[in-house]
Symmetry: C2
Subunit: 500 residues, 2 copies
Amino acid sequence: MYSLLFPFQCLPFSFLILFISVSSSPHNTPRLRLHHEKIRRAPSDTESASLVSENLKTYFYTQTLDHFNYNPQSYDTFKQQYIINFKYWDGAKSNAPFFVYLGAEAPLVWDLPTIGFLPDNAPRFKALLVYIEHRFYGKSIPFGSMDKAMGNESIRGYFNSAQAIADYAEVILYLKRKLHAQNSPVIVFGASYGGMLASWFRLKYPHIALGVLASSAPILYFDNITPQNGYYSIVTKDFKEASKTCYKAIRKSWSEIDKVASRPNGLSILSQKFKTCAHLNRASELKDFLETLYARAAQYNQPPEYPVTMICSGIDEASEGSDVLSRIFAGVVAYFGNMSCYDTNMLDYSPEIIVGWSWQRCSEMVMPIGRGSNDTMFPPSPFDLKQYVKDCIRKYGVSPRPHWVTTNYGGHGIKLVLHRFASNIIFSNGLRDPYSSGGVLEDISDSVVAIHTTNGSHCLDILAADESDPKWLTKQRKEEVKIIQGWIKKYYVDLLALKQ
Amino acid sequence: MYSLLFPFQCLPFSFLILFISVSSSPHNTPRLRLHHEKIRRAPSDTESASLVSENLKTYFYTQTLDHFNYNPQSYDTFKQQYIINFKYWDGAKSNAPFFVYLGAEAPLVWDLPTIGFLPDNAPRFKALLVYIEHRFYGKSIPFGSMDKAMGNESIRGYFNSAQAIADYAEVILYLKRKLHAQNSPVIVFGASYGGMLASWFRLKYPHIALGVLASSAPILYFDNITPQNGYYSIVTKDFKEASKTCYKAIRKSWSEIDKVASRPNGLSILSQKFKTCAHLNRASELKDFLETLYARAAQYNQPPEYPVTMICSGIDEASEGSDVLSRIFAGVVAYFGNMSCYDTNMLDYSPEIIVGWSWQRCSEMVMPIGRGSNDTMFPPSPFDLKQYVKDCIRKYGVSPRPHWVTTNYGGHGIKLVLHRFASNIIFSNGLRDPYSSGGVLEDISDSVVAIHTTNGSHCLDILAADESDPKWLTKQRKEEVKIIQGWIKKYYVDLLALKQ
């Protein structure tokens, strides 16, 4: 279990997405808002669009397949989707800003309803809202279908972050030309993987983005900059802080599951105990399910429900004298609600994500997440690069490049490097988010800053504001807005000075 | 003559390189030190190496063909040459710096003898000297031979600046690891095209290069940031400043050549008058030769000879009453010395350069250099992008991407963009260098600075210091050294602070 599911998506829906299990591969990346609402299917494109707003207009840009080479195939093109909301924009004449959301590892329309930070703040900034889809997701798949694109070893090779941010560069420059808005400052937003893209975009294309809000971007979770167990240490800490007894029960449960499973009929007993929809074939099916559940609960440990607290309440409130596994099951029920049965695959995520992200992880997104013995509440599972590489070669025929991200974008000694280089980046994190272990948590300079909240979870700041938001979250967002205002103000001063 | 030869190489030898004419294409890029020494052939590798020093060790790095994709072909490798001089290095323990020269559009060993700035200053900095060859030049050609590499449309596609600077990134990181010198600051040097690469390297890989000296790097000669006639305006100015009568004679000569050529036997008359080795077939052969001569004289208008002055002296001192063409020929003789005949191809440059650079110009290095009517001392020759693109497609089957350099590296509004981003770049120029018209001539911030000399020519500062150097040149180099010392000093302070 060297590369246990990477709980990496950012943007929860207001529903749980229940999919047919796509793969039992450990390369899953959850994409869920974890609370006990009724489980629903994923939204269709039409539904997503209608969830959003009528102010959105969809366009397609004829995008270059390969920006970095000049082989004949490099010149192939594909249609890249981008969506614009013109409603709040004060226009080119007043050099009103662009707010650009960089799509990540999902169809763009899935993200749109959740990126509330942009429309929430667009009126204040009189900003044009631009959302650009990531290549190979949603409607931006070269050669039409994911089957065709990913089935061809030559085409899927163009599916990577450097190409993706070059796509964004082209679309933004095109829009600025088209809207005669050459002097409009561009603020770029991204979250989770998209947050990494956003921060890298500011570093690689400072002439296109004036500044960046990179929400929950674990850019240091590469090449062993961050300790392997960073992620699960925080999951553990979250549970421990919620309830010590709960944490202890979970910690104890793994060997208990193994013990029961090893008995005659053990898997039947476990299947009954956990009311699994299908009979368990291996104890690992149950353990993976629970592990995913805890990891996601921690990652998306959002107010007002706080899923970790929810699960721990279930575990702690189980009738006295219950055995460990009954208490664990009580946690599952507390979280999902009472169901006729529990599908151990229900936390798997959709093919739209899994197909693409599995490839990305096997090419450049090699994040060494693992666990030692006794350093978390989970069973040990050290990251094994050799095995990882082997699996990827078996799957795709090519080896990942585990050092490329740090070669191309940096990461080692980031404070030393960026202290006197770069500007206008906000790295925002919630410290309860397990991925914050790979985030930038310290200010690097006056304008490359880290803003984090002690109680925040993954990408919380970039979601829509809500009246029920805790004060610390509102404060975090206000601070971000203030910083962005500062960038733009300085930019206008510079612009004026140069024109005189 | 839309894209007249681009006098783009930087580093003169102590001889003139006389080659068989490779191509009459206007895509030539001169690579010559223009003075009236005896004309010699190009150096063999052995000669070049012996010209340099016995302290140099040659290595080869197994380089990735395509850094930016994950197609099976991307994983192909080639041997990239790099050369190290360990003599002055104070070692990893004292975090002594690396001085890295980024190879440009020529075999590395050709450049080595001329980049005197590095060995001149290495003792003071106790620096390791590293010279890295540019892919597809010299000994760093994928698949062994230029014929094979360039004859294959798929392979030559990997021949571009983004791949080249990624190569440099990999080699430098590899060396830092290998020499356990992770904390040694890296200062990167480049000149002319190599200077562009150097400045782009600092912008794209700030985590690898602490600072950059970009000598005579016309990074703004793209995408019409610089007026088309920038280059030839300066050639004209140089001649006018040297001698108004000389300038007038040249200005008048073009129509005179045409007039003579249009007579019966006119080309024979011209051939005799200019003592051409071969009979002229077209007047343009002579005009191109002269134009190249004047352009190079201006570009490499170095002390102590000052080729422009040399030519103008010939023209001005021609016996009184001479006709214009005799005076022009006297300029040629003053420059080259008395020869039995003058080969109009003798300013063409070598196949080692021309084959590669022609491709680079037809893929991404689209520098719109042209001339209008009466804005220079030359006949009009506006840059015609359409024709340029057409010619490239005919030649290579693919179109250049004229906007890619500014999309990827920036250039438009550079002061606005980099004023509050980036640091530690010196853009050095000599204002008599025609390419300085596309250079950065104004300070952008406290640490992104422009250092130029009124009387300097192309890449003068990066050549070896000489006792005969004028004061202004010595001063320029001193200033550069002082700035680099400042970067390194600050770096050590930062390093120490972070370790505490």
